[in-house]
């Protein structure tokens, strides 16, 4: 693509994402350093970073598209194709495996109707067996989108998947996420 193509004709991003990108880039002493953060912002909106998005990011940071492509193809959490609308991650590594995470992953494959590493045909769910998620004391650990759920094993895994499928996971006390269990309030005087 020629250098005369305008940024806005190359890729349509929301005003909010563009504002966030404009905020993050000047935080770094060198523009290239902002690459991962800009990729995250673009991926958060589009679900994946395809060749066009790569080109857009490269232009924005005054780099070559390959400088962005080589990051997308290296980092496990960067995507060339989007995951499903709900993305379920199960920790595979030893501490979680010792608490039954292989069983959890199988239960999810069966109940969500999607093979590990894939997106369900209707695009609703995707399932990923991930490496250590750093919450090993409460394994098996499951992350749905951005929330972390602990001790998801055996019967609990089945119940968890049922609630997830019914869209009723939020607010269920026994499956309160690590994030929702934190105290984030400004204390009263």
């Amino acid at each position: 693509m020629s250098a005369t193509v305008k940024m806005e004709n190359l890729l349509k991003l929301s005003a909010e994402t563009l504002a966030k990108i404009d905020e993050v880039v000047p935080k770094y002493p060198q523009k290239r350093s902002a690459a991962l953060m800009v990729i995250h912002l673009v991926q958060d909106e589009l679900g994946a970073v395809d060749d066009t998005a790569c080109e857009w990011i490269a232009k924005r940071l005054e780099l070559q598209p390959i400088n962005i492509k080589e990051l997308i193809t290296f980092y496990p959490m960067l995507r060339e194709n989007p995951w499903g609308r709900k993305h379920v991650r199960v920790c595979r590594t030893l501490p979680c495996a010792l608490r039954g995470s292989y069983g959890t992953c199988k239960t999810f494959e069966k109940m969500l109707g999607v093979k590990e590493g894939h997106v369900r045909e209707d695009g609703e769910y995707s399932l990923e067996f991930m490496e250590c998620l750093a919450d090993c004391g409460q394994g098996p650990v499951v992350i749905v989108d951005e929330k972390t759920y602990e001790n998801i094993e055996g019967e609990r895994a089945t119940k968890f998947a049922e609630l997830l499928l019914d869209g009723k996971l939020d607010g269920v006390e026994e499956f309160k996420s690590y994030e929702d269990s934190l105290n984030q309030q400004i204390p009263k005087q």
């Binding site: 935080k27 990051l71 980092y75 501490p95 010792l98 490496e131």
Partner: protein
């Protein structure tokens, strides 16, 4: 949340699980927060560095290198900007301590970082946090803006002429970004291929080829407490050469896995497993323990460890007698690493556990050095085949030979991290690996859990 053990001495996690405490600045200020920043700013930067050196605090990220010494290596004469980076990539399997600090008490880290930045003369600091910690990054960003509003971070800190900006940078799921030069490459916007050494320390040439200090989250939090107590007083916590507390993360097959903060050397591995963590499940016996994250060499339950300690005293330990500090697991031929203790009972098929670990390293090798890229892959393939009914008697020796060809032949310590588990598992449990060849569907242990 882990149930707190009555014998713990919580310094870093003192408020983390207090129900009346939150991760907001008002709570932190109420318990004396940022008072030590004021105290440090009344000192000369060199004096702050001197206190850290005197404290003897060793890095909590895995290598256990004295933090004060690392700071000493800083090239201050180059005239280039100096950078401070907090390694919050927490990704060594079995480790989950930095998460507790950042999610529950982020201001402690920010105070520790601003004191450290002042000491080393850094006007730009970064927190490199793993991308799986979505909420963690949000919490840190909010905490930084709270601290900026009150003049504890950013421009003209505490009204002085010292300024230091703090930026939260998210990784993208790669374990190799925990290696400090890989982290720096990643922060420069490149693939995180670790850099060739020398220079051995980024303190000489780091981010943008400028002097850079990279410290772990827990280490930087300790700096705040060192200033509060004074280096001398801090060094009295724990044992000589093993000062301060450590947050041990226990996972695997114990009744009460969790994070527990103890003075270094305050308890043994046996006390940790059987007393603090409530022991094993009913009817089970101990098979093996990995004492410092999955890269550490495995310890066999019935092993004896003997030799002479650094101070000249002879020791003869069983697994349960190993003191939990930096030097204990090291004397037993392994390491305390990042403090991740992974416990395995007699239901564990040791070859499957090995295959699980090998799959991790094969997935996470950056691919830069051939011995590591190819070796980790073949170790995964061999152990996976062994667990799928294709085991052969000669596989044990084959695995050892592959591991031997990785160790010492790579740019970074990932090579050792990938090779040591195989070397220790195969050497210490050789019978399990040899007997795998005669395993059939009929004689397989029905209790054993699928690990690969």
């Amino acid at each position: 949340m882990s149930e707190q053990s009555p014998k713990e001495r919580r310094i870093i996690l003192k408020y983390a699980d207090d129900p009346a405490y939150s991760n907001r600045i008002d709570c932190y200020l109420r318990v004396g927060g940022y008072q030590n920043l004021k105290k440090a700013f009344a000192m000369k930067p060199e004096e702050v560095g001197e206190e850290v050196l005197k404290s003897g605090v060793r890095g909590r990220g895995g290598a256990g290198f004295p933090a004060g010494m690392k700071w000493k290596f800083l090239d201050r004469k180059s005239g280039k900007p100096i950078y401070l980076i907090c390694n919050a990539d927490e990704s060594e399997p079995g480790t989950f301590k930095d998460r507790q600090i950042m999610y529950k008490d982020p201001h402690q880290l920010i105070e520790g970082m601003m004191i450290s930045a002042y000491a080393i003369g850094a006007s730009q600091a970064f927190i490199y946090i793993r991308a799986e910690f979505h909420e963690g990054a949000r919490i840190l960003n909010r905490a930084i803006s709270e601290a900026k509003d009150k003049g504890f971070c950013g421009n003209n800190i505490l009204g002085s002429d010292f300024s230091c900006d703090l930026v939260v940078h998210r990784g993208a799921g790669a374990y190799i970004c925990g290696e400090e030069t890989g982290l720096i490459e990643s922060l420069e916007g490149k693939r995180p291929n670790p850099r060739i050494k020398p220079p051995y320390f980024p303190a000489v040439l780091g981010l943008y080829q400028c002097p850079t200090i990279v410290n772990n989250v827990e280490t930087l939090c300790n700096v705040r407490h060192i200033i509060e107590m004074g280096g001398e007083e801090f060094s009295k916590i724990g044992k000589p050469n093993n000062t301060g507390t450590r947050i041990w993360c226990v996972s695997g097959q114990v009744m009460k896995p969790g994070y527990y903060e103890f003075e270094c050397g305050a308890l043994t591995l046996g006390q940790m497993i059987f007393d603090v963590c409530g022991g094993l499940r009913p009817g089970r016996s101990l098979k093996a323990v990995i004492p410092g994250g999955s890269s550490a060499k495995v310890l066999r339950a019935d092993e004896r460890f003997s030799g002479t300690l650094k101070d000249g005293t002879a020791f003869d330990w069983g697994l349960g007698d190993i003191p939990l500090d930096f030097d204990g697991p090291m004397s037993a031929g392994s390491m305390s690493g990042s403090g991740g203790i992974i416990v395995m009972d007699d239901t564990v098929d040791i070859v499957q556990a090995m295959a699980n670990i090998n799959a991790f390293y094969a997935h996470e090798s950056c691919g830069q050095c051939t011995p590591c890229r190819e070796g980790s892959l073949w170790m995964r393939k061999i152990t996976q085949r062994m667990c799928s009914g294709g085991a052969r008697k000669e596989d044990a020796d084959l695995l050892l030979s592959v591991a031997k060809q990785i160790e010492g032949r790579t740019i970074c310590a990932f090579g050792e991290a990938a090779a040591w588990p195989t070397q220790s598992f195969v050497t210490k449990f050789k019978d399990d690996f040899i007997n795998k060849a005669s395993e059939t569907a009929e004689n397989r242990d029905p209790k054993s859990l699928q690990l690969i």
